[in-house]
């Protein structure tokens, strides 16, 4: 019974929180960059978690997995729905190339550094280090949209082209993160002792299975909504299929984010109801996101020795990766406006998909090493959320 009450309390905080956060409330500069962006709910989660009020203990957190899985599925599906090729193709093609170059280089830099640290300093096994480094890389690549939104809302930006590019990158680069995170979980799956089924597939095969499950369920969605459906029926089908897809992912220890992303992609490109579904999803986006952030905060097991050094290293390496990525992209790809070579530094904001990836990974991982990664990334998200808007303003020409 306690678990249900916890869900209800958390959901209520999320619902009420979504009414107040992400809005244009005027609060002092600086605090605005950390409050009203959704990141503040990490602390609420931390407060109700095992470290403080103990409303959510590790057992309860375990029981929350299906709900978290549904939340992840919701986010993945929503993200996939936005990739309607008919709409995306009208956007400048070089934007996608810049995003890809930036994301891939950032991932490579972070992956390499942390792979070395995990093997050399922390003495993790090769396979384990490989998976953890991939996760770090996936989280590093994605850019949060909150700082872009703050800057766009609060400041007059002279360089509209650059601002649009930033917003495009922040919206799209999570694609690479979700893919890499999904692949990392597939590697983790085949590395587990319980992996004893007759279907002994490779990590890449499981990656294809993940995409296929999502793709098939996307077509199921298309079939179910092919004939005339009311808004309520559409909501019913959406909830049912997202839940089904998330449950299957969790059952098979795959990434719900990846599976439902594939589902959303198919719905966006095959179903004539894609716009209506997107409207339904967007309405609940904030609440689901806040719910995830709270639960991520609650799952954060703060140890006495907080890995400040590693967190600082992750922030620096990520910033370096973004810088190099931005530099290469600016040099390689031509745009109709001047792209500064240090544009990567304007894309340091995290949150959103980064938190979703963390929750996703925590669901599947049972090892204590994930707590270390969790702490590093949460600290990095908070720090980046704070400094990022200032850098965006600087790069886009306001200061």
């Amino acid at each position: 019974m306690k678990i249900i009450l916890i869900i209800v309390i958390t959901a209520t905080i999320a619902l009420i929180g979504s009414q107040f956060t992400f809005n244009s409330r005027k609060i002092p500069l600086g605090t605005r960059h950390i409050l009203l962006t959704g990141t503040e709910f990490i602390f609420i989660g931390l407060l109700i978690g095992p470290g403080f009020l103990q409303l959510i203990n590790p057992d309860a957190a375990q029981q929350l997995h299906p709900f978290l899985s549904f939340g992840l599925g919701w986010i993945g599906f929503l993200f996939g729905l936005q990739f309607d090729i008919n709409k995306v193709r009208f956007l400048p093609k070089n934007y996608f190339s810049i995003t890809a170059v930036l994301a891939i280089i950032t991932m490579l830099v972070v992956f390499w550094v942390f792979w070395v640290i995990f093997i050399g300093t922390l003495s993790y096994g090769h396979a384990h280090a490989w998976v953890l480094a991939m996760i770090m890389a996936a989280v590093a690549a994605c850019t949060g949209q909150s700082s872009m939104a703050i800057v766009h809302r609060d400041h007059h930006i002279p360089s509209k082209g650059l601002m649009n590019l930033f917003r495009y990158i922040a919206a799209v680069d999570a694609l690479f993160s979700i893919m890499i995170c999904g692949l990392a979980l597939c590697y983790h799956k085949v590395d587990q002792p319980f992996y004893t089924t007759a279907y002994h597939l490779s990590a890449w095969a499981w990656f294809i299975v993940s995409l296929s499950i999502g793709g098939i369920l996307g077509f199921v969605f298309h079939f179910l909504s092919y004939h005339k459906v009311t808004q309520d029926e559409l909501l019913l089908v959406t909830i049912g299929l997202v839940m089904f897809a998330s449950g299957i992912s969790l059952f098979l220890k795959l990434s719900p984010l990846l599976v439902t992303f594939a589902m959303g992609f198919i719905v966006a490109n095959r179903s004539s109801r894609n716009t209506r579904v997107l409207e339904i999803m967007i309405r609940s986006e904030k609440s689901v996101y806040i719910l995830l952030v709270i639960l991520a905060g609650a799952s954060w097991q703060l140890s006495r020795a907080i890995p400040i050094g590693l967190a600082f290293l992750f922030i620096v390496v990520r910033a370096f990766g973004k810088y190099i990525g931005g530099f290469v992209a600016a040099k390689m790809i031509k745009t109709e406006f001047k792209v500064p070579t240090n544009m990567g530094l304007g894309l340091l904001s995290q949150g959103g998909v980064a938190i979703a990836i963390l929750v996703n990974v925590q669901q599947v991982f049972r090892e204590s090493s994930i707590n270390l990664i969790f702490t590093i990334i949460i600290i990095a998200i908070i720090v980046n959320e704070f400094i990022s808007p200032r850098l965006v303003i600087k790069l886009t020409g306001k200061e």
Partner: protein, 454 residues
């Protein structure tokens, strides 16, 4: 149609394939997530298909549950159904809010005479069912070894259980058909009033049975006061909640449906916790009745504020999802095996109950001088039975280990029949009354028959 069939086959195939991976380390909660998603999709599909053949959606939901449940294809296990119990609690609270919101004082005043007359006449169901069963006692093994007084007590108990209705089914059918008019209003009013009455009557009858079957037990009339206190306390709490809701609704916009769902669930949980607390720490056997609390709150919002319509619309937004889950879980919980083992007596009680409902309801309506087409249609809305009756059955089995389980099995089978037939008859009744969208009314039907004699 073919597209939907293909979708159903694909997800069933996926589920079948998934259990090939059973060797992996999994948790019950993961299976529950899959089950819930699967159930929603299947309920939607079968519910939509049932509307094509003019059956209520909820019959489709119940059918989906029956098909996939532990007594059907076993795609949902008993454990999974138990894990999804919180959905039932959430759904019941929502339905109770809805039921309260549907009770409009102005309408109740208009139909006052009919309501009182029908409710009074329905008490005769106990006498009718009881008397018939008493006369035919020789045909049933259930009464073997009981003295005449004990048989009277048991048949009265069966009679009281037969009075129980299903407010959730009535609400779901009215909501689905968007019915508005005399028949829907009166059926709902009577159903809710009887739901409260039947709890009191059951408590009295079961206590009487206990006294007659256990010679050491003495009749303690104090429980009636406790029961009435429970009802009073629940209504008062509901009224306070209703006024609180009116105030807080002003600040809720898009999140109101989820807020109501959460609030209803909290009311259910709080009531159970309070009951446990009072029992455990103070030895007070006082129960807060969550459904009554929610009905009262819904009633207050509808009748004492300007927010009634908004309240109902907000409930509407989540109703399809909740109904699909609630009724499919109900379907999956129906014990078909009980029907197999006691189908003969179950059918007799089912028919007896239906006849008594028809006779007493129509008699009551005639007594209140009700207009002609409606008075012969009300009874069609009173056939369905669900949760409360099952609760009664389990209580009988628990309290009377000698004969209780046998009677409980019969009652569960009767509920199964009523829950399958009841929604269909109610929808049919509303259509004949011309209260549903696009329905041909009874009057039009008669006119049609006269204009085209066969």
């Amino acid at each position: 149609m073919y597209y939907r069939l293909a979708a159903l086959l694909i997800i069933m195939g996926m589920l079948g394939l998934l259990y090939q991976f059973d060797g992996e380390e999994t948790h019950a909660s993961e299976s529950a997530t899959i089950a819930m998603g699967f159930l929603i999709v299947c309920a939607y599909l079968i519910g939509s298909a049932s509307t094509k053949i003019k059956l209520p959606r909820i019959t489709g939901y119940i059918g989906a549950g029956l098909l996939l449940g532990p007594y059907g294809l076993h795609m949902l296990t008993k454990q999974t159904i138990a894990d999804l119990d919180f959905i039932n609690q959430m759904a019941l609270a929502l339905i109770a809010f809805y039921a309260g919101g549907e009770l409009r004082i102005t309408k109740l005043k208009t139909y006052k005479n009919t309501l009182i007359s029908i409710i009074s006449s329905q008490i005769l169901i106990v006498a009718g069912v009881g008397f018939t069963l008493y006369l035919s006692q020789g045909y049933f093994t259930l009464f073997a070894g009981m003295n005449p007084l004990q048989i009277v007590a048991v048949v009265s108990l069966i009679g009281v259980v037969c009075m129980a209705r299903s407010p959730s089914t009535a609400i779901a059918i009215i909501d689905e058909t968007r019915a508005q008019g005399r028949v829907s209003e009166i059926v709902l009013g009577v159903t809710i009033a009887l739901d409260v009455m039947v709890i009191v009557l059951f408590a009295i009858t079961i206590s009487l049975c206990e006294t007659l079957f256990d010679t050491s037990a003495a009749w303690d009339s104090q429980f009636i006061y406790i029961l009435l206190t429970e009802i009073l306390v629940s209504v008062v709490v509901g009224v306070v909640l209703g006024f609180g809701l009116i105030r807080s609704m002003k600040h809720m916009q898009a999140i109101l449906p989820i807020f109501l769902l959460t609030l209803g669930f909290l009311v259910v949980k709080f009531s159970y916790s309070l009951t446990e607390y009072l029992e455990h720490y103070h030895g007070i056997g006082l129960k807060a009745e969550p459904l009554l609390i929610c009905i009262s709150a819904g009633f207050i919002v509808q009748n004492y504020s300007q927010q009634g319509e908004r309240f109902m619309k907000s409930l509407d937004k989540v109703s399809l999802l909740i109904y699909a889950l609630f009724f499919s879980i109900s379907g999956a919980s129906l014990n078909i095996k009980a029907l197999q083992s006691s189908w003969n007596i179950a059918i007799i009680i089912f028919l007896l109950r239906a006849i008594m409902i028809a006779v007493t309801t129509t008699g009551g309506a005639i007594g209140a001088n009700d207009p002609k087409p409606a008075r012969s249609l009300y009874w069609l809305g009173f056939i369905a039975q669900a949760g409360v009756t099952l609760g009664f059955a389990y209580e009988i089995a628990r309290r009377f280990p000698d004969w209780g389980p046998e009677l409980a099995t019969i009652l569960v089978a009767v509920v199964g029949l009523n829950q399958v037939v009841g929604p269909i008859t109610f929808k049919y009744g509303l259509e004949l009354a011309g209260e549903t969208r696009g329905a041909i009314s009874y009057r039009e039907l008669v006119q049609k028959k006269h204009s085209h004699p066969i």
